[in-house]
Structures are given as structure tokens and as C-alpha cells.
């Protein structure tokens, strides 16, 4: 008897909510980014679990391709996000999001 | 006779049959066989340290016309044991303001990636730890954990020199990983499989004849990944006082030491697998498969000798030269090599034809590179800016002295 699909989905949902709490409640901008990465990973687990349990029987690989695209997008977003954080740090000498709430310097 | 010729595989089968004969269930037989395999691979890795430490010291010493270590046993061959005893008896120092847990975590995970690589290296027709069908990708992915261990080591030491060294290390390792992966890709295109055993089986012609440029680039990048001279900025004693390892003493330093030599051995076997034909040797392996591990080991020793030769010969590269060498020279070159490989694979389906066309493509690539360099790199006597930088101040004339040894007119 295999691991049922709902177990994977529950773990992915828990990971998503932990990532959501991290993204919403942390003070440091880099910690917010780490929460976002956790959310993207939970989405990947979902995609691959559905691929394995539903799509693989029909011979299609769309789950894996979609997961690769999500990893690519996450990499691009992490690179640009961290570049933004470094640029902001260079100007304002802080990465605290409470201090970054005004557009004016 | 068959038992002797195919000794290792037959031995494994005989032991498994023995255990099944004792009444053990099949899952226990498999478990014991796996554990024995893991122990053997670990011992092979550590034996590499014992063999290559004296080899490095003696070979580099002979190249520099000095005797090298010659006190421990005749010819100084047990120097690795002497090093081990020295490191075991040293005091373990932890810097006060550092993060203690991180300081202790780094030596724990630095030797793991180097030893994990041994799980997917082929030692013979049936002798491989685990024949993953993404073997090469596994090796590249595990190499990135080594970078992580170095970051933790540099951060946990609470020392500015460690941090500078860590930045340089990560820059260098990430920059030299890219041409390495591109050369591996060219090999994977030719072999049509990512499993290491499949790559060895597919090499009817060894790949260093088919694509020598890729072999050379891979060797350079593998040496940079293993922090060997001439690209060893981080453990340069004259530069950064041993870099990220500066706060480690005793057994923790020994872990870094072991990791470096094990990764040297693993890299050499990897080069032998990818480019030199692995366990194949002009058909000898078909006659006597028992000799296959010896063939692999012999090729690995040859590659290690080449790496030591590089170390004894070339001076160290400056850091910005190192980075521009990788990004501006190796990356475009390996990308063009990959494109040529893809093109050649489409042009013909005959294996010998593909090999010949790829060799021709590589020769054209080298010729084009030399031509481009002749045009764009300015010669010293044609570039006024360079002349100003390297110009030597004119030496003042020495006034003549007369017979009494005094200068005229003074």
C-alpha cells in the first residue's frame, strides 16, 4: 500500500502556511524572501505529487515541466529580490522593512 | 578460471549465497551487502588520502630537485600516518566570540560530499556503488554542498581574514563550476546518458581524443574546484594565512585535510571516467574483468600526477585574473564546444564519424582562439599605456673612478 496522496498535500499545505507566516511576520527583508522560497517549494511538492498520482499513468510529463519552470522562476525572483535588498541597504543602511515604508529617502 | 577472471563480482555473489544459505531473509542479505559496500567505498576514499599525501610531497619535491620527506619508513612513504598522529595530538582551539555550533558544524559536513561522490563512480563492468541514471548530475549537485561547508567554516570563525577568504572561495568555486558543467554536458550529449557506467560503456573512443578542449577545460576547472595550485588562493600561506581554515586546529583541521585529498582522488577518478575511458583499456577488461579497478586506479594516478605537475610548475594566479580567466575565457569556449558537439551529433550518425568531426571542430576552435588572441591582445611594444606601466626607470650612469678609486671632480 503506497503513501496516500492526501499526506503529500497536507505536508505541502503546512509548509505553505509556515512560509506565509514567515513572509508576513518577519522584520528583516531577507527573512521575508526566505518565507517566499518556502511557499514556492510547497507548490512544487503539490505539483509533483499530483503528477505522480494522476498524470504519470497517462504518460504525460507536464507536472515535471511545470515544476522545473517554478524552480526557474524562483531562482530569477530570488536573484532580483536580493539585488534590490542590497541596493536598498547601500542607500539606507538598513534591511528592516519597518524603516522602508516611505518612498522618500 | 572464470571465477578468478571475474573475481570481484563472483566474490559478491558467493558471499550473498552464503548468507542466504544461513537462512537470512532477502532483505537482510541486501542490507548487509549494502553496508559492506558502503564500508569498502569509504575505505577506498581514505586509502586515497594515505596514498596521495606521500605521493604529492615526494613528486613535487623531486620536481623541485629536493628529497622530500624521507624519515618515516624508507623513502618517507608513511608520511600520512605521521600527519594523522600529529593532528590528533594537537590542542583544539575555539575562538571566543565565534558561533560555537557553526564552528563545530563545518568540519562535520566538509568531508561528506567528497566521500559521497564515490557512490556513483564505476570501478568495473558490474562494480559501482549505485548506478543512478542521473549519476553525473548527482556529482555536480553534491559538489555544491562543499561550497556550503566552506561558507559555514568561514563565517563561524569570526575573523576578517576568514570572511575575505570565504568570499573569494565561493566566487572561485561558483565561477569554475560553470565551464565544468558545460564540458560534462558535451560528454553527456555524446554518450546519450547521464549515468557514469553508461558514459564508460559508450566510450569506444576515449573522449579526450574526441574533444581535447573539453578535457583540458574540465581538468582546469576540476583543479580549481579542489583548490589546487595554480588557483589555490584560499589556502595560500603567503596570502591569507590558510584562509577559511585559519581558526581550526587538531582533528578539525584534519577533516579539511582529508576532504581535500579525498576530493582530489574522486576528481581524478571522475576525469578518468569521463574522458580517459574509465575501466576500459584496449580490450583488456573484456578478457579479465578483475583488472578493471586497477585500470581505473592507474588512470587516476596519472591524472593526479598531472595535477601535481601543474602545482609544481605554475605560479599562483591573482584573484581578478582567475575570475576573468573563468568568465571571459573558459565559459565562452566551453559554450562553443557544446554547440559544436550538438552540431556534430546531428551531422552524422556513425560513431567514428562523429569522433573525427568533433576532433576537427576542436582543432578549428583552438585555431580560432589563437587567431583572436593574436589580434586583440596588445603586444607590449605596440601599446603605449602598457609601456608606461611596465617602463623601467633609466639607470643613472655610474661616474668613472680613477686609479685611486675616487671619482673625478669630487
Amino acid at each position: 500500500m503506497q503513501v496516500p496522496l492526501s499526506w503529500y498535500l497536507v505536508v505541502a499545505a503546512a509548509l505553505f502556511c509556515i512560509g506565509l507566516y514567515g513572509a508576513l511576520s518577519r522584520r528583516n527583508a531577507i527573512a521575508v524572501l526566505m518565507g517566499v522560497e518556502l511557499m514556492l517549494n510547497s507548490v512544487n511538492i503539490n505539483l509533483l505529487a499530483f503528477w505522480r498520482y494522476v498524470e504519470a499513468a497517462r504518460g504525460s510529463l507536464s507536472g515535471q515541466v511545470f515544476a522545473i519552470v517554478v524552480i526557474t522562476v524562483a531562482a530569477a525572483e530570488a536573484a532580483v529580490g536580493l539585488a534590490l535588498i542590497i541596493a536598498v541597504y547601500r542607500n539606507r543602511h538598513t534591511v528592516d522593512i519597518e524603516d522602508m515604508d516611505l518612498m522618500k529617502l | 578460471m572464470d571465477f578468478i577472471l571475474n573475481f570481484w563480482v563472483e566474490l559478491g555473489n558467493w558471499v550473498a549465497g552464503l548468507m542466504a544459505g544461513w537462512g537470512m531473509p532477502p532483505w537482510a542479505v541486501n542490507l548487509v551487502a549494502d553496508i559492506v559496500g558502503v564500508v569498502i567505498l569509504l575505505l577506498v576514499g581514505i586509502a586515497g588520502v594515505l596514498i596521495f599525501t606521500p605521493m604529492e610531497r615526494k613528486v613535487i619535491a623531486r620536481m623541485q630537485d629536493r628529497p622530500g620527506p624521507n624519515r618515516v619508513w624508507p623513502y618517507g612513504l608513511l608520511i600520512a600516518l605521521a600527519d594523522a598522529i600529529k593532528m590528533l595530538t594537537k590542542e583544539d582551539i575555539v575562538p571566543t566570540n565565534s558561533d560555537r555550533r557553526l564552528h563545530m558544524l563545518a568540519p562535520l559536513i566538509v568531508a561528506a560530499p567528497a566521500l559521497l561522490v564515490f557512490a556513483v563512480l564505476p570501478w568495473g563492468p558490474g562494480l559501482i556503488g549505485q548506478n543512478l541514471n542521473v549519476g553525473i548530475l548527482f556529482i555536480v549537485a553534491i559538489g555544491t554542498i562543499h561550497v556550503l561547508a566552506i561558507i559555514i567554516a568561514g563565517w563561524g570563525a569570526n575573523n576578517k581574514f576568514s570572511l575575505i577568504s570565504t568570499y573569494r572561495v565561493v566566487n572561485q568555486l561558483l565561477a569554475y563550476e560553470i565551464p565544468m558543467v558545460l564540458c560534462i554536458l558535451a560528454v553527456v550529449l555524446f554518450a546519450k546518458t547521464m549515468s557514469t557506467q553508461g558514459i564508460v560503456v559508450a566510450q569506444t573512443i576515449p573522449y579526450f581524443i574526441v574533444m581535447p578542449v573539453a578535457a583540458l577545460i574540465f581538468l582546469i576547472c576540476a583543479m580549481a574546484e579542489a583548490n589546487r595550485s595554480p588557483v589555490d588562493l584560499l589556502e595560500a600561506d603567503s596570502e591569507l594565512v590558510a584562509g577559511y581554515m585559519v581558526e581550526y586546529s587538531g582533528m578539525k583541521f584534519a577533516m579539511f585535510f582529508i576532504a581535500e585529498y579525498v576530493s582530489l582522488f574522486a576528481t581524478a577518478v571522475l576525469v578518468a571516467t569521463l574522458f580517459l575511458g574509465g575501466w576500459k583499456f584496449f580490450g583488456l577488461e573484456k578478457v579479465a574483468p578483475v583488472l578493471a579497478p586497477a585500470i581505473v586506479f592507474g588512470k587516476a594516478v596519472f591524472v593526479v600526477f598531472c595535477m601535481l605537475w601543474f602545482r609544481a610548475t605554475f605560479p599562483r594566479l591573482r584573484f581578478d585574473h582567475l575570475m576573468s580567466f573563468s568568465w571571459k575565457f573558459l565559459v565562452p569556449l566551453s559554450m562553443v564546444n557544446l554547440l559544436v558537439a550538438a552540431l556534430v551529433l546531428k551531422l552524422t550518425a556513425n560513431v567514428w564519424g562523429q569522433g573525427a568531426l568533433m576532433l576537427l571542430g576542436n582543432i578549428i576552435l583552438v585555431a580560432a582562439t589563437i587567431l583572436i588572441f593574436k589580434r586583440t591582445v596588445p603586444k607590449l611594444d605596440e601599446a603605449p599605456a602598457l609601456k608606461r606601466i611596465v617602463a623601467v626607470e633609466p639607470v643613472p650612469e655610474v661616474p668613472p673612478r680613477n686609479a685611486a678609486g675616487l671619482v673625478e671632480g669630487r
Binding site: A13, A57, Q64, A75, I85, R90 | V134
Partner: protein
């Protein structure tokens, strides 16, 4: 309770403990290390789901590139004086409540549905099939090309934004 059940429970413990370490810790460097632990646990999940290529790509891209990038950003943006006095911002209580409520809601819905699963044997040459799928005109070549353009744009953009003036 077969072996795969036990392995699943161990992997989910590793992943969720790593995730909790990310969001609850105060020391940012340790949070990054817990994030790496979480990524390794997720790579284990992918192997359990018989997508080995994706597991290696996860290790290579997430652990080898993104995590190291995050650690570099932590090292470069650290003021040498004070640690974070308070790691949580003003709205942490509402964030906790809403995340917990969302989790309960999702788990409740997920356990109710009767998922239509057909578990079959995955053919052994998925890597070849994946390669063909990514470049064949009637499958996913457009996705592949657009994501490569996306990576190029991100690369150029990150270099320009983070450049020293």
C-alpha cells in the same frame, strides 16, 4: 506501515522542522541553514515521488545557488553592531492567526476530498522523455524558450540594480 511510509514521516519531520527553524529563529544565518535543511528534505520528497532528475535540480539550484545567494546577501547587509532586537514586526499576531486559520482550512478540505488516483509504474526513461518534451513543438517548447528569456532578463536586471554607482 511499509518502508515508504516511515521514510515519508521522517522526511516530512525534517522539512517541517527546517521550515519552523527558518521562521522562528532570531539569528539570520542559522535561519538560512535551516532553510537549506528544508530544501534537502524536499529533495528527498522528490526522490520518493520518483522524479530523480527534479531532486538533483532542486539540490543544484536551490541549495547550490539560491541558498548561497541568500547567505551572501546576509553577509553583505549585516551591520557590524547590533543583532536583531526583535525579529517580528508589528503585525505578527495577525499573521500567525491568519496562517494558522489557512492551514486548518486547507487541511480540512484536503482530507475531505476523495482524490481520483491511478498509481502506475513510471517508465524508466523519464529523463529522455523530459528532454523531448521540453523541445518538441507540440509539447512545451514555448514554455522553455520563454523561461530562458525570463532568466536573461532577471540576470541583466539584477546586475544593473546591484551595481555600484
Amino acid at each position: 506501515m511499509t518502508v515508504s511510509h516511515v521514510v515519508f514521516i521522517i522526511l516530512s519531520a525534517v522539512t517541517l522542522i527546517g521550515a519552523l527553524g527558518v521562521v522562528l529563529g532570531r539569528n539570520l544565518f542559522r535561519a538560512a541553514l535551516f532553510l537549506i535543511l528544508s530544501f534537502v528534505g524536499i529533495a528527498g520528497f522528490y526522490i520518493l515521488l520518483e522524479a530523480e532528475f527534479l531532486a538533483m535540480v532542486q539540490l543544484l539550484v536551490y541549495v547550490g545557488a539560491i541558498a548561497i545567494l541568500i547567505i551572501f546577501a546576509i553577509m553583505l547587509s549585516r551591520r557590524l553592531m547590533s543583532p536583531e532586537y526583535n525579529a517580528r514586526n508589528e503585525q505578527w499576531l495577525i499573521a500567525l492567526a491568519s496562517a494558522a486559520a489557512l492551514c486548518v482550512l486547507l487541511v480540512f478540505i484536503l482530507l475531505q476530498v476523495n482524490w481520483p488516483t491511478e498509481l502506475s509504474v513510471v517508465p524508466p526513461n523519464t529523463i529522455e522523455q523530459l528532454g523531448i518534451a521540453l523541445v518538441s513543438p507540440d509539447q512545451f517548447v514555448l514554455v522553455f524558450e520563454v523561461s530562458s528569456v525570463l532568466l536573461l532578463v532577471a540576470l541583466v536586471g539584477a546586475v544593473i540594480i546591484a551595481r555600484e554607482r
